[in-house]
């Protein structure tokens, strides 16, 4: 009677998770564990699903715990396929937690067992997971590094290159298997890896494939991701017009999908792209749209970025009053969120603006030469590093400094 009850609870948990209600599913699975079962394979399946449910709920410590239980159990009962699956899931969870070395060991175990069992589907999935771990590892090392923008550090480059190799290997198998959905995922992440490596042409080719497959499946989220990634790559190819076209499609889809955060991101990207095109009116238009959504979502960091961007764009147009307004707002928000370097950037922008305003009211030559001295001083003391770190999402600039330099 108790056995049936554990199974019933687990089946209800499965049904709820499949229906997308992981939170409710977790309660049923945990109840099933409480009731308990003699059947270790059933218990292993419950642990595995609990782990996955917690993973989707972003509770990774819990996910880790249950996938670890599952792995131990699978080994105890000598279930090799079960061990492979548990290792893969544990690997993915360790990756998210930033434990890359252990994640690699687990994903490698998934791969080894799949090969041993001649399980092509499992092998392909393990290769994809390994690619993901190396991609995250590379990105993580790059953003944690204190190095100045320059060459890609060797460890970053080598991790990203490994990721690309794993994605390529995965692509060979899933192409043989005719699994288009898996091809789509591999192309997307391969594209992003090429992008970080600075191979922007290759990135475009991969994302174009991703786009094609997304359209085949009518997967509008994947389509939107592809547009956004294509936009990013074209920015670094210096083809800003093309980039703006892709970002506009991203924006269109974000609106259709009613995803305000993504809509804000698209507006921000468009604002920056029009800044690069030196069309400051349009840049301001998009940055304002971004600002409104950031406020709506109570995203203070986003709001600060919007104010900073708007301050710069209004300065470029010579509208110093508006520029001052947004620089002041940027300073306020930076203080509020405790962003020290943002605060410093805002102060520098404000002092620059005050100088410009001071100059425009001055007809006195000596005043000008005074300002010149101040300006030299500013250049000397300007903490460039501080400005750099005040920017969000700096990986790209650190990773691809040559291209960034070419913008000037």
């Amino acid at each position: 009677r108790m056995e049936a009850s554990c199974l019933e609870l687990a089946l209800e948990g499965e049904r709820l998770c499949k229906a997308g209600d992981c939170r409710a599913g977790v309660s049923f699975f945990e109840a099933a564990v409480q009731v308990g079962t003699e059947d270790l394979k059933t218990l292993s399946a419950i642990y595995s699903q609990l782990g996955n449910a917690y993973f989707y709920l972003h509770e990774y410590a819990k996910a880790l715990e249950y996938h670890h239980h599952d792995l131990t159990l699978a080994r105890t009962i000598g279930d090799l396929l079960g061990e492979a699956k548990a290792s893969g899931n544990l690997g993915n969870t360790l990756k998210v937690l930033g434990n890359f070395e252990e994640a690699i060991v687990c994903c490698q175990r998934h791969l080894d067992i799949s090969r041993e069992l001649n399980d092509k589907v499992g092998e392909a999935r393990a290769l994809y997971n390994l690619g993901n771990v190396y991609h995250s590892k590379g990105k993580n090392v790059a953003s944690a590094g204190t190095h100045d923008p320059g060459e890609l550090p060797d460890d970053v480059k080598s991790a990203l290159q490994k990721a690309a190799n794993y994605y390529e290997e995965n692509l060979t198998i899933v192409t043989e298997l005719g699994d288009r959905a898996a091809q789509g995922r591999a192309f997307g992440n391969l594209g992003n890896t090429h992008y970080l490596l600075g191979n922007f042409r290759s990135a475009v080719l991969a994302h174009e494939q991703r786009l094609l497959i997304a359209k085949e499946f009518g997967d509008r989220s994947a389509e939107r991701r592809a547009y956004s990634n294509l936009g990013n790559a074209y920015i670094f190819l210096g083809e800003f017009e093309t980039a703006s076209e892709y970002y506009k499609r991203t924006l269109q889809l974000a609106r259709q999908l009613k995803d305000r955060a993504v809509e804000a991101q698209a507006c921000y990207s468009l604002g920056n792209t029009y800044t690069l095109l030196q069309d400051y009116e349009k840049a301001i238009d998009y940055h304002l749209k971004h600002l409104v959504i950031a406020q709506e979502l109570s995203d203070k960091i986003g709001e600060g970025r919007a104010c900073w961007s708007l301050g710069n764009a209004y300065t470029a147009l010579g509208n110093h009053d508006q520029a001052m307004h947004f620089a002041e707002r940027h300073l306020e928000i930076s203080r509020e969120v405790g962003d020290r370097s943002g605060e410093l950037t805002a102060r520098l922008n404000l002092s620059d603006l005050q100088m410009v305003l001071g100059l425009s009211y001055s007809t006195n030559n000596s005043m000008m030469s005074e300002s010149h001295v101040v300006d030299n001083n500013l250049n000397g003391t300007r903490p460039r590093v501080g400005r750099r770190h005040s920017m969000e999402n700096m990986e790209l600039m650190k990773l691809t400094p040559e291209k960034v330099q070419n913008w000037n």
Partner: protein
């Protein structure tokens, strides 16, 4: 002195907005992870299938 002042202002202006400061939002969009799945019914469906196969073969044998 006006044009001079103007030029100075323009120089300052370009320092306020050097193109390096134009931050491209590097929001890379990754594909989702794939998790391996298990189900409590996996085991039972296999058991069930096993017994079906058994009953079919035993029926055939008995014929």
């Amino acid at each position: 002195s006006q044009p001079l002042a103007g030029r100075q202002a323009a120089e300052l202006q370009s320092k306020v907005v050097p193109s390096k400061q134009i931050l491209h939002s590097d929001n890379m969009e990754m594909e989702p992870e794939t998790m391996e799945t298990k189900s409590v019914t996996d085991y039972f469906s296999k058991l069930h299938m096993g017994s079906l196969v058994y009953s079919c073969t035993s029926k055939r044998k008995s014929k």
